[in-house]
């Protein structure tokens, strides 16, 4: 989780895209994942996600996410194999057979899960949260209070993930076996940390809210934003690609 959603500074083509375009692009890739039925097309969409990672200078993070999702996907794939009963048996005999439909359903599920999860997280990691709240307020006329709440919640995800990592590292240094390979044992060690982490997180949010109020948060209006956002030609190209992916999803 460490580094997940952390903003990666840069000046790549993705960094320069308007935040709304990035949201539109990621929503379109998600939609294409759920509209498309063909596994090859779904693999292509995952390829698009990795390409986005490369274009945004966050390829390592994209690969990391892909690997993480792959582990979860194996579990979900096996569940589909075991529970889908319809279709032609490939291995074993009914009622304990693995069917062709089970394989196809499991494959679609994991490809969709991977393809749809990656784009928003990748695009958010190349977007400043202040820019995101800025466009939400300026263009979509979302009240600043809600835009700020949304972007602050997103910003706090890596902050709290880092806090958890720091606690685990400190505990490891004091002999707690957080570096164990056994996931159940690791989960058992992490669970007792959740409550203190939650309490410290709430306390920190409370203090940050007070700090925001003390710097005029309640006085802010839509006109307060000093930055102005305009769509560029790159945004048009990205929007067209996004629309084409959705169209391909409908057709395939």
């Amino acid at each position: 989780m460490k580094g997940f959603l952390d903003y990666k500074p840069g000046d790549t083509v993705l960094h320069r895209l308007d935040p709304l375009t990035k949201i539109f692009l990621s929503v379109c890739i998600c939609a294409a994942c759920f509209l498309g039925e063909e596994p090859a097309f779904l693999v292509f969409l995952i390829g698009c996600d990795l390409l986005l990672g490369a274009l945004g200078g966050v390829f390592d993070r994209a690969v990391g996410m892909f690997k993480g999702l792959l582990k979860l996907s194996i579990f979900l794939f096996v569940l589909q194999l075991l529970f889908v009963r319809s279709g032609v048996p490939l291995v074993g005999q009914p009622p304990f057979a693995i069917t062709d439909l089970g394989v196809l359903t499991g494959l679609r599920l994991v490809l969709r899960l991977i393809g749809a999860t990656m784009p928003l997280a990748l695009l958010l990691s190349v977007t400043q949260m202040s820019d995101l709240s800025g466009v939400l307020v300026q263009r979509l006329h979302v009240p600043y209070k809600y835009a700020f709440t949304l972007t602050t919640a997103i910003r706090f995800i890596p902050v709290f993930a880092n806090a958890l990592s720091a606690i685990m590292e400190a505990q490891t240094a004091r002999g707690v076996a957080f570096d164990t390979k056994n996931p159940f044992k690791k989960l058992g060690l992490i669970l007792p940390l959740c409550m203190p982490l939650l309490i410290s997180s709430v306390s920190r949010i409370h203090d940050t809210a007070a700090a925001a109020e003390m710097r005029g948060f309640t006085l802010r209006t839509r006109e307060s934003q000093s930055r102005r956002y305009t769509f560029q030609s790159g945004d048009l190209v990205a929007a067209l690609i996004a629309a084409a992916l959705v169209a391909a999803g409908v057709l395939l």
């Binding site: 949260m129 902050v159 920190r204 007070a210 109020e213 003390m214 005029g216 006085l219 802010r220």
Partner: protein, 277 residues
């Protein structure tokens, strides 16, 4: 002007007052250094001035605290923020934005500073604190000391009438600490900004503050011009505040010879030379 009259505050669940019967007046343009041992009530004092006490800290509030005529109990945090700029001890919780420039912009935009003026204010705040190269860095990539400087720059950019800082140099090296205090003095002298700073480094306070407030167990033990307070070096040592060595030495010499108090090395040298035949 800040006035505290018979002000006491006890945190919910605590068995004693964090601050007890405090009476203190801070005039416009004052530069007050607040010092005292751990648990003396220094942070509670700064939070009372910014309104966090009682608006964000539950407990029993007695007496009154007024800031430029505003009663802190009856005024909102935002109303008080129009007069008081605060830098907390916990810097991380004060960081609102993800990037240094956005952190400075946040308050300026909220308080409706003129759009043409905003870039100048941002440039000046960054340059004054010496963090212009950090402008486009993410907050999470900064060290504790750098974050501390960003927090101070974000408040200075707002140019509040009163500046309250809780251990603003806690994570800074001696050179950077001096730089911050020089800047505070400049803001105090050229802009007439009232500065109230909690600090453990008494040498810095002695050199830059006009007055010292010494807290001990929630009680205001001493309050007055720096030289007057440092005269009580024995009492300060008793409550765990270590006086600058030159002040302690000159106090002892003064006991013997009736000489003046020295608060820095130059004054101590002059004092000793004066005593030599």
């Amino acid at each position: 002007m800040i006035e505290m009259r018979a002000f006491s505050f006890r945190y919910a669940g605590a068995d004693r007052d964090a601050l007890s019967n405090l009476n203190m007046t801070v005039d416009d343009g004052d530069f007050i250094g607040v010092i005292g041992p751990s648990g003396a009530g220094k942070t509670t004092l700064t939070q009372a001035l910014s309104g966090l006490v009682p608006h964000r800290r539950s407990g029993d509030f007695f007496g009154s605290v007024t800031v430029n005529g505003l009663d802190t109990v009856n005024s909102s945090l935002t109303e008080l923020a129009l007069h008081v700029g605060s830098v907390f001890q916990d810097i991380d919780s004060q960081m609102i934005a993800g990037q240094v420039e956005d952190e400075i912009l946040f308050g300026l935009e909220n308080f409706g500073v003129d759009r043409a003026e905003i870039p100048r204010r941002v440039d000046k705040a960054l340059a004054d604190i010496g963090i212009s190269p950090l402008r486009h860095r993410t907050i999470d990539s900064l060290s504790g000391g750098q974050k501390q400087k960003v927090a101070i720059a974000a408040i200075l950019a707002l140019r509040p009438k009163i500046l309250v800082l809780d251990e603003p140099t806690g994570e800074l090296d001696p050179g950077a600490s001096e730089q911050i205090f020089r800047l505070l003095r400049r803001m105090n002298e050229t802009h007439g900004m009232t500065v109230i700073v909690v600090e453990q480094k008494i040498m810095l306070l002695s050199a830059y503050a006009k007055k010292l407030a010494v807290l001990n167990d929630g009680v205001l033990e001493l309050f007055g011009p720096v030289r007057e307070v440092l005269r009580h070096s024995a009492r300060l040592e008793e409550i765990g505040v270590h006086c600058p060595r030159v002040a302690t030495l000159s106090n002892r010499l003064a006991d013997l010879t009736g000489g003046a108090l020295a608060v820095d090395l130059d004054e101590a040298e002059a004092l000793v030379r004066g005593l030599l035949p």
